[in-house]
C-alpha cells in the first residue's frame, strides 16, 4: 500500500542514499507500486526542470567577486583574517606570494639587533653644533663653566698655569726652599 514513507523512500532511492540491500528491496517494491513509480518520475522531472532553470550571475558580479571584496589575509595564512578574503589584495586572479615565516626566536633577535643599532647610531651620529639650550641640565653646565673660570682665575693669580701639574711642582719647590731655610736657621 502506497504511503508517504514510500515516497520518502523514493527520494533516498533516487538520490542513491540507500544501501545495496535496501536498494534491491526497494526496486522490487517499486516494480509493484505505480504510485511510487509516478512519484519517482516527479522527482526526476524536478531535476530536469531545475537543471534547465536557474539564473547565472552577470559577468560584472563575478569580476567584482574575484577582484576585490575586502580581504585581510592570503590563503597561505590559513584564512585567519578578521574579515574578507585575500582576493582584494591580489591582482585579479593572482594570489599574492606567501609572506616569509619568521620564528619567534629569530624575531626577538632581529628586534634586539635593530634596537642596538638604533642606540649605537644615536651615539655615533652627533650633531655638528652644540645645542644652544640644555634645559635638561637644569643649569649644571653653567655652574661647571663658572667653576672652571674661577679655577683659572685662581691659577693665574698664583702665577702658575691652569695646569694642576704646574701648581704641584710649585708647591714642591716652595717646600724645598722652606726646608733649606730651616736648615740654615
Amino acid at each position: 500500500m502506497h504511503s508517504p514513507e514510500h515516497e520518502e523512500r523514493c527520494l533516498l532511492y533516487e538520490a542513491g542514499e540507500l544501501t545495496e540491500a535496501e536498494r534491491s528491496a526497494f526496486a522490487g517494491a517499486l516494480a509493484a507500486c505505480a504510485d511510487c513509480r509516478d512519484f519517482l518520475a516527479s522527482i526526476e522531472a524536478c531535476h530536469r526542470f531545475c537543471d534547465a532553470a536557474g539564473i547565472a550571475p552577470d559577468a560584472a558580479l563575478d569580476a567584482r567577486t574575484l577582484e576585490g571584496t575586502p580581504c585581510r589575509r592570503h590563503l597561505s595564512d590559513g584564512g585567519r583574517g578578521r574579515s574578507g578574503s585575500a582576493l582584494d589584495r591580489a591582482p585579479a586572479g593572482e594570489p599574492r606570494p606567501p609572506r616569509p615565516r619568521v620564528s619567534p626566536r629569530a624575531a626577538v633577535g632581529l628586534t634586539l639587533a635593530f634596537s642596538f643599532a638604533a642606540v649605537l647610531a644615536v651615539f655615533l651620529i652627533r650633531p655638528s653644533s652644540e645645542p644652544k639650550d640644555l634645559e635638561w641640565s637644569n643649569g649644571l653646565d653653567e655652574k661647571v663653566a663658572a667653576a672652571g673660570e674661577e679655577l683659572e682665575d685662581i691659577s693665574w693669580s698664583l702665577g702658575v698655569g691652569a695646569d694642576s701639574g704646574d701648581i704641584d711642582r710649585e708647591l714642591d719647590d716652595l717646600e724645598g726652599a722652606a726646608r733649606q731655610l730651616r736648615g740654615v736657621l
Partner: protein
C-alpha cells in the same frame, strides 16, 4: 552533475588543490563552475537580486578564506552550499519583518519583471529564454512554499546536497528533511503539470 565530463565534487576537489598550490586561475575556475548554481540557490532563498548578489560575493569570500583549512573529503559542493545556507539564514533573520522585493514581482525601470532580465547562464538565445521561463516558474513555486521546504528543495536541487547533509545543515532529523522535500516535489509537480522544460 557533471562539468566537462568530470563529476562536480571531483572538480571541486581538483580546483581546491590547484588554488592551494597557488594557481591564479583556480579560484576563477571555481567561481565559473559553481557560480551559476550558487547564484540560483541564493536568488531562490533570498528573493531579492541585490541580496543575492551581496550574498554571492560574501559566500565566495568565505570560501576563499576557508580554503586553507578545508578538508579534502570529496565534498566541496556540499561545503560550498552549507556556507551559502548558513549565510542565507543569517541574512533572512536580519531581514525578518522587512518587505523584500520578489524576483518576479518587482519591475525594473522599464517595467519588466526582474526575472526576465536575468540571464539563464546557458549559451544561446533560445536556451536562455527557456531558462528564464523555467526560472520564473520555479521561483514562483518556491515563493509559495513554506521556508523550510524551500530550504530543503534549494539545497537538494541547486546545492546537490544529500539528504543526510541537508538534515545536518538544517539541524533536523533525516525524516523531517525527507518530508519537507516530499511536499516540495508534490507542490512543484502540481504547479508544473502541463509545463515542459
Amino acid at each position: 552533475m557533471k562539468e566537462e565530463g568530470v563529476p562536480l565534487d571531483d572538480l571541486g576537489e581538483k580546483l581546491v588543490e590547484r588554488a592551494r598550490s597557488g594557481d591564479p586561475e583556480a579560484f576563477k575556475d571555481m567561481v565559473r563552475s559553481f557560480g551559476p548554481r550558487l547564484f540560483s540557490y541564493l536568488a531562490g532563498r533570498l528573493k531579492s537580486r541585490e541580496a543575492a548578489e551581496d550574498a554571492y560575493a560574501e559566500v565566495w569570500m568565505r570560501v576563499w578564506k576557508g580554503l586553507a583549512s578545508y578538508q579534502s573529503l570529496g565534498k566541496f559542493q556540499p561545503w560550498l552550499f552549507t556556507i551559502a545556507h548558513r549565510l542565507s539564514l543569517d541574512l533572512l533573520e536580519r531581514e525578518a519583518g522587512r518587505a523584500s522585493v520578489s524576483i518576479d514581482a518587482a519591475p525594473d525601470e522599464e517595467g519588466l519583471p526582474l526575472s526576465e532580465r536575468w540571464p539563464s547562464g546557458e549559451p544561446g538565445p533560445e536556451r536562455e529564454a527557456m531558462g528564464r521561463q523555467a526560472w520564473e516558474k520555479v521561483s514562483a513555486v518556491l515563493e509559495s512554499l513554506p521556508e523550510e521546504q524551500r530550504q530543503v528543495f534549494l539545497l537538494r536541487e541547486f546545492g546537490g546536497l544529500s539528504f543526510a547533509e541537508i538534515a545536518a545543515a538544517m539541524d533536523c532529523p533525516l525524516g523531517t528533511a525527507l518530508a519537507r522535500m516530499r511536499y516540495a516535489v508534490l507542490k512543484l509537480r502540481q504547479e508544473l503539470e502541463g509545463f515542459h522544460a
